[in-house]
Amino acid sequence: MQENQSSQIPDGLNDEQNLGWKSQHAAELFDLVSRNSNQLVYEYTPETGRILWTGAILEVTGYTPDEFAAIDINEWERHIHPDERVNADKALKEAQEKRRKFHMTYRFQRKDGSYVHIDDEGIFIFSEDGVRMVGTMKDVSERVRLEQEANASKDFLSSVLGNVTDPIFVKDDQHRWIMLNEAFCTFMGRSQEELIGKSDYDFFPKEQAKVFWEKDAEVFRTEKENTNEELFTDAKGVVHTIVTKKTIFTDSEGKKILVGIIRDITDRKEAEKNLITSQTKYKAIYEESSDAIMLLVPGKGFISGNPAAIALFGCKNEQEFTSFAPDQLSPETQPDGMASGIKSQQMMAIAMEKGSHLFEWRHKRADGKEFPAIVLLTRIEVEGKLILQATVRDITENKKMAEELAKKQEQLRLLLDSTAEAIYGIDLKGECTFCNAALLKMMGYAHQDELLGKNMHAMIHHSHADGTPFPAEQCRIFLAFRNGEGTHVNDEVLWRKDGTSFPAEYWSYPQRKDGKVIGSVVTFMDITEREKAEEELKRLAAIIASSDDAIIGKTLDGTIVDWNPGAEKTYGYTAGEALGQNITMLAPEGRQEEIRTLLQRIRDGDSVRQLETIRRRKDGREIPVSLSVFPITDEEKKIIGIATIAHDISALKQSEEELKNTKARLEEEVINTRKFLQAVENSSIATIIASPEPSIIYVNPAWEKLTGYHKEEVIGKNPRLLQSGQTPKTLYPQMWNAILQGHEFLTEDIINRRKDGTEFNAELRVYPLMDHGTVQYFIGMQTDITLRKRVDKAKSEFVSLASHQLRTPLTAFRWGLGVLRKTGPLNPKQEEIAEDIQKAAAHMAESIDVMLQLSRLEAGKVQVKSTSFRLSDVINELCTIFHPQAKLHNHSCNFQMDENITLTTDSALLREILSNLITNAIKYSPDGGTITLTTKIADKSVQISVSDTGYGIPHDQQEKIFSKFFRATNVLGKIPDGTGLGLYLVHSLVELLGGTISMVSVENQGSTFTVTLPLSPPSP
């Protein structure tokens, strides 16, 4: 920056003078940058712990520079927020130890006890003189607050207002501030939070507040715009003159609000006042100034000198001073060789002509000692005459000043380079006068020479974000110059050397010299991250808005302040209905206390995750919800609100319920299965389960016992391993045929072989377990019926033998009676006995026949031999046989038959069935009845009915008529020779032929037996 500053250095100075001026200028610039950036500059000596402070001490800390001078390293630490103190100490020590830059943001306690966010950056300088640290402490509260606001605030209006430099406030009709901008807060020296909701009475002395109040009231009443000039004492006790313009607006809710815009005109007032007091002031300056000031009349000499001048020239008093001619106070020649007398004449002439003239001069004190000085001659008018005022400054201290300059410049460079904010200076033409390392880094330049002297707008601010050109005339930095105002912009982009851009926030501060704007210092920073945070906030807001979960914000007492659409969906209340209500409105009957307890827990700093409870919707329905409740905290971890996320778990609950039911069902099934398994395991029936392949997958202990095989030997094997080869060959195909079609198969004809080779008769029942038409498993249950078969055989043989042995004597009875009758006529008595013997023998023979047939039937010995034949043939035959018998009892026979019916069945068995029925009809009808036989075709079956007009069967006994040994009570006395086996036999035979038999009977009217047989046997 050194070189470029030269353009502002007044012409005509030699190097020494230049140095002096530069030193002064550097200090000013240093101070300007510091103050404008709200920076404290410090120099810390670790050895002593002492810190030298300069810059914006009062602004940042609230302490005066004098008070703050006492702050050493320990005091500094004590002012840091306790939460950050240890870290700060550690970081500082580390920086020194590792020779690293110290950079930290911490909260620093101001004199008034409040905290400001400080951005502290410093570097340690290690030199021969020892270690010292130079750095800056910058108040970034504003920035932090802005960032926080960006992250939290939805109120864009306040940010709009925040960019207006004039303090603006909005009051409601109760004179309370409801909206403020930053400038107003600064003006009041209070934070927005402290001010909102309060009124003038809370911050101003009663009298002053009353004035403000009355003026507001007047504006409210008249609704006319009003401008007042008021005196106002700020928080620091400084009196300001302010002009407040107040206007009444009506807001969207129809309420009147007062908008006030304040302009601080203190400075203007001050200037006016100064004008009035300038003479007095001039005198004071003249008297008290440390610069030597004297009045000089060209050609005449000094007419007065102030005390500093008298002292400077080593005179006793003003009288002695004015006695010297100007050239007597100079050596004979000036350093350039010119005679002092001549040169002084020239200098004065220039000053008289130009109004003022600054030049270096070599003076001589009264004691003859010479000294270099800078002299400023200013033409002034005193009582109508033009004279010169000379201000002389001894510049003997030049060397020291040069050193001072070097040091200050070094400090400034360090300061500029150590700050993270990019800083550059521009002159009135907009050309770069200096820039710091952060800027170079941020903008992608290697060296400041690339920018110095260049138009900064053209370099870094040439286009808008969309790439369209940004004319310099529209640049707000330039606009600010014209008004001598600072500016703050955060909605533009800056362009790097490589052509990329980034969103930036920048501040420009006018740089003044002697009251004139000479340029501007601009600081800026990359706010990509902040914009990202804002984006994040928007996204977060979108997530909250679109979440199905109810997200509810509450105050500490449970008043609802946030209510997202998910909450509306979950609870049925719209945001309008819910906001301002207490959260307990969601509690079902008797759960208010639960909510209150929850709120207390959160207030105590606890949080609750996934609490399952019940809440009531607007429509009264109670729903299960899962709640997460947690506190909302501010920067200081203070709990300022409560947030709840609620998830409707009705569906979850329902599926849980279903799950429970399923589980119960499964458990029941498992229990049943276990029971079943137990039953099967303990069953005495040998049971086997096989897959369709077939391979054995299970056998029970009874099976193991029966077959002699152990379970492990047979699992996975084919059940065929039991086959003996003795079973009829046709049986297995029949069995497979049946079970593959899903039918059960039952047989007693299996002969199986045990492991030990012995054989046994088995009754086998096989049935398939089907699933959707496919066989999944077979279950086979077999019992050893070897013994039964043997017994059956023995029984059958016995019955057969017994029958023959009984029949033979019966034949002998009959034949004997026949022979007896032939020997000669018997007397009536003898004939009667002979008759009885004959009947008894016949009854016995009949019984034996039936028993024999039954025993064969039960032993399964009756084989069905199907042939096709005409039904009428069989019936005609029976008619022939039974006609004589019927005639004997005067029964009329009425046999009607369809000649065309042909059926396929066992004709002999059919004959036996019908014979029995006809015999019964004849036997159980009083003489002179009618025996009717009819045939009928019905759906692939033939119905053959035999009716009589006989005794019939009592109603209460009808259901037993087909059981063994049944005899109806109404005929017991009348018909002694019934066996009680006839209908049982008929029933069994009909079933054997695949038919059915039914009966209709009315006592003393007769009975009808109907046999239904398939026209052809059912396919197996």
Binding site: H804, R807, T808, P809, T811, A812, V819, L852
Partner: protein, 119 residues
Amino acid sequence: MSKRILIAEDDVFLCKMYKLGLEGLGYEIEMVPNGKDAIAAVAKNPPDLLLLDLLMPDVDGFEVLREIREKGQKFPVIILSNLSQEIDKEKCRTLGASDYFTKSDMELDQLAAIIKKYV
């Protein structure tokens, strides 16, 4: 010369009845109590007609019938048995029985008429 009828019947009482019933009808009647004797009797002197019971000790009626027919002897053989099942009747027909009657259905008068048909 009167016709010779051989009756094979193990029941003594029935044998008596046969004798009584067929007496005086002019037949020469020979009685054997079992199958073995029946075969022997036939071998010794073939009858004009054989009344054959089926269930007899030692050699049963089926066996007797088979041997007679296997030897090519053609005289009529009438089965008179207590066995009433079709299967037995069928078996006898196959073996060459001339007729088959169950004793329980038969009266002595009927028997005489039947015999008359064959001799």
